[in-house]
């Protein structure tokens, strides 16, 4: 490894090398100093906006952090954009991550508003209180869970019991439901999704709190609605569920009924069927705050109940809260 020839380097003049190295060092030092001055100037120029309150509480500083449900993230974004257009001095930031993520952030005090597409769980309330937070719930919109299949699938209607059997693994072939001879591929959202938890409680367990049925182990837990959509569109074996706002025209929506007797009415999900209660898999969409909201957060939540905001809700495919 060590070259035995290194002692045969030409014998250069030491002073020449010394002069060159000194020149290089001085040049580098000046560059370093220039860089330091530049950094100092840039950081001092990036001072906070003047004219805001001096206090550091988020809600007196017209800025809000809004984290949580992926089902609600587009809705929250659209509302935030509209509010910022009407009130240019405000500053709202929205991100997804799942209802579980949002509530966890609220408990960890890293967000002002948590979006959730499911009710907060009792363990989460206990965790929040242990951290000194009393979560307050606001229902901001309603949503239908649409059951979707590939457009080439002949099945158009299912009962809740059949859905429960499909997802718990009791029914494994479309033939058993009157369809083609194909294996059923079950698609679901990840466990951190409020949609997933809602589906588990209301469809798999049919609302029974003591039921311990779980999704079958071969249910695909896909990370987002787009992935579910891609698989539904291209795989004729697939069945999935997602919020009505995420259903695109190239998917087939299945009509659902809760009852088993006789010749029940199978209902398609829509604003009307959600609000009049006939669609069985409908849910409320929540926003949670840490304690009673004050200041800017209170103003923002108040704005969400105005007709202007509720119109955004229905534009995005959700169901607006009727006059409150």
């Amino acid at each position: 490894m060590f070259n035995s020839n290194r002692n045969l380097l030409p014998d250069c003049s030491n002073s020449l090398i010394a002069k060159k190295s000194v020149a290089i060092i001085i040049w580098m030092q000046s560059k370093v100093i220039q860089l330091l001055i530049l950094i100092v100037l840039v950081t001092t120029a990036c001072s906070p906006r003047t004219g805001d309150d001096e206090t550091s509480l988020a809600d007196s500083n017209e800025s809000i952090n809004n984290v949580g449900s992926d089902t609600m993230v587009n809705l929250a974004l659209a509302c935030a954009e509209q509010y910022q257009m009407d009130n240019p001095q405000s500053n709202l930031s929205v991100s997804g991550g799942g209802s579980g993520t949002g509530i966890a952030s609220l408990i960890n005090k890293t967000t002002d508003l948590a979006n959730a597409s499911r009710k907060i769980k009792s363990e989460e309330i206990v965790n929040a209180q242990a951290n000194g937070i009393e979560p307050v719930e606001f229902i901001v919109a309603r949503d239908a869970i649409a059951v979707i299949v590939n457009p080439n699938n002949p099945i158009s209607q299912l009962t809740l019991q059949q859905l429960s059997d499909i997802y718990s693994g009791k029914i494994n072939n479309w033939q058993e439901l009157g369809g083609e001879d194909r294996p059923i591929v079950r698609l679901s959202r990840e466990t951190n999704s409020g949609t997933h938890v809602y589906f588990l409680e209301q469809v798999l367990r049919l609302g029974d709190k003591n039921d311990k049925t779980l999704f079958s182990t071969d249910t695909l837990l896909l990370p987002s609605s787009e992935v579910i959509g891609a698989e539904i569109r291209s795989n004729p074996n697939a069945i999935g569920y997602d919020g009505l706002g995420y259903v695109t025209p190239d998917m087939k929506v299945v009509a659902v009924t809760a009852s088993q007797l006789g010749d029940p009415d199978f209902i398609y999900p829509s604003s009307e069927t959600v609000n009049d209660g006939t669609y069985p898999i409908a849910r409320d969409l929540y926003m949670y705050t840490a304690g009673e909201p004050v200041g800017f957060v209170k103003k923002y939540i108040g704005w969400i109940y105005t007709p202007q905001a509720q119109e955004i809700v229905s534009d995005l495919g959700f169901v607006p809260i009727l006059a409150k």
């Binding site: 799942g98 966890a104 965790n127 194909r182 938890v197 182990t217 896909l222 891609a230 697939a238």
Partner: protein, 298 residues
């Protein structure tokens, strides 16, 4: 090494030493953080719970076995595809290809290695999984096989680059001697050059394994994330869930300090230990002291 007498020399030597040792420091710190966050999992959840076969953390089912199997199946599948292809590609580029072909091929392979993995995952989801489903008549294309194929695609450039460099450093005298003794070109490559470059090739394969087992985005999008236990030969074509995808998908939702949080760090520890074992195993091969006869004759 001689002790340097010029002051700036000893300063630089000291600085380099600090940077060198800091690498060890970072590894130790990471390990310490993993252990401190992951160890409570063993006290909060009984060890036998980890050995169960059901992973459903929101209802306190913490069986890690399906995740472990998932990672292993996908990695082994990727290696079965990547090692032969990678090695043979490296041999072709280093030994057989003409200089012009070599000049085109080598940069192209390195380009493939520069692909962001999330793009590959997305392409796999939209395109590869459909073909896998149609060609193999599977219920769904989101399976361990698709994951293994994409991971092989990610591991091959690493294996090819480093193996090719290793084969290049074998002295020409080895090949000349073998050919002079009457061996054919392929016999020379397989029995003389490749064994001589053994340590480099093994390093390349270890790097490939490391990339495959640690890859997150690709397996998150393409394997279906279904925590299933193996069912014989069909395991490769069934959906599966890897440890890395589990951590990526679930870390966002856990409340800091909850049992789920600690269990996720425990999975991180398991991953760390697996990678450590692979690296130690590789080192014992690569840095083996030469036999006395090899040292005398080289």
């Amino acid at each position: 090494m001689q002790v340097p007498r010029i002051k700036s020399e000893s300063l630089i030597t000291g600085l380099i030493k600090v940077f060198g040792y800091s690498a060890i420091l970072f590894v130790v710190l990471i390990f310490y953080f993993l252990i401190s966050e992951g160890f409570p999992a063993i006290t909060e959840v009984s060890f036998s719970e980890f050995l169960k076969t059901r992973w459903y953390p929101i209802e306190d089912y913490f069986g890690i076995l399906p995740l472990l199997v998932g990672s292993l199946v996908v990695t082994v599948g990727a290696l079965i595809i990547a090692v032969p292809i990678g090695l043979l590609t490296a041999i072709y580029i280093a030994e057989v290809a003409s200089p012009q072909t070599k000049e085109i091929l080598k940069p192209l392979v390195e380009l493939l290695g520069g692909f962001p993995s999330v793009v590959l995952g997305f392409l796999g989801l939209l395109i590869l999984s459909q073909y896998v489903r149609q060609i193999l008549a599977l219920p769904t294309g989101l399976s361990a096989l698709t994951g293994a194929l994409l991971l092989a695609g990610i591991a091959i450039p690493s294996i090819v680059s480093i193996s090719e460099d290793a084969l290049d450093t074998v002295p020409k005298s080895y090949r000349d001697a073998s050919l002079a003794l009457g061996a054919t070109e392929w016999q020379t490559i397989w029995w003389v050059t490749l064994p001589a470059a053994k340590s480099g090739v093994l390093t390349a394969i270890m790097l490939g394994i490391g990339r495959a087992i640690g890859e997150t985005m690709v397996v998150l999008m393409v394997t279906g994330n279904a925590p299933m236990m193996p069912t014989g030969l069909s395991t490769l074509i069934n959906p599966t869930r890897t440890m890395t995808a589990t951590i990526a998908a679930e870390m966002g939702e856990v409340a800091n300090g909850s049992t789920h949080y600690h269990v996720l760090f425990f999975i991180g520890i398991v991953l760390f230990i697996i990678t450590l074992i692979i690296n130690v195993f590789a080192s014992t091969f690569v840095f083996r002291r030469k036999k006395r006869s090899e040292r005398i004759l080289s």
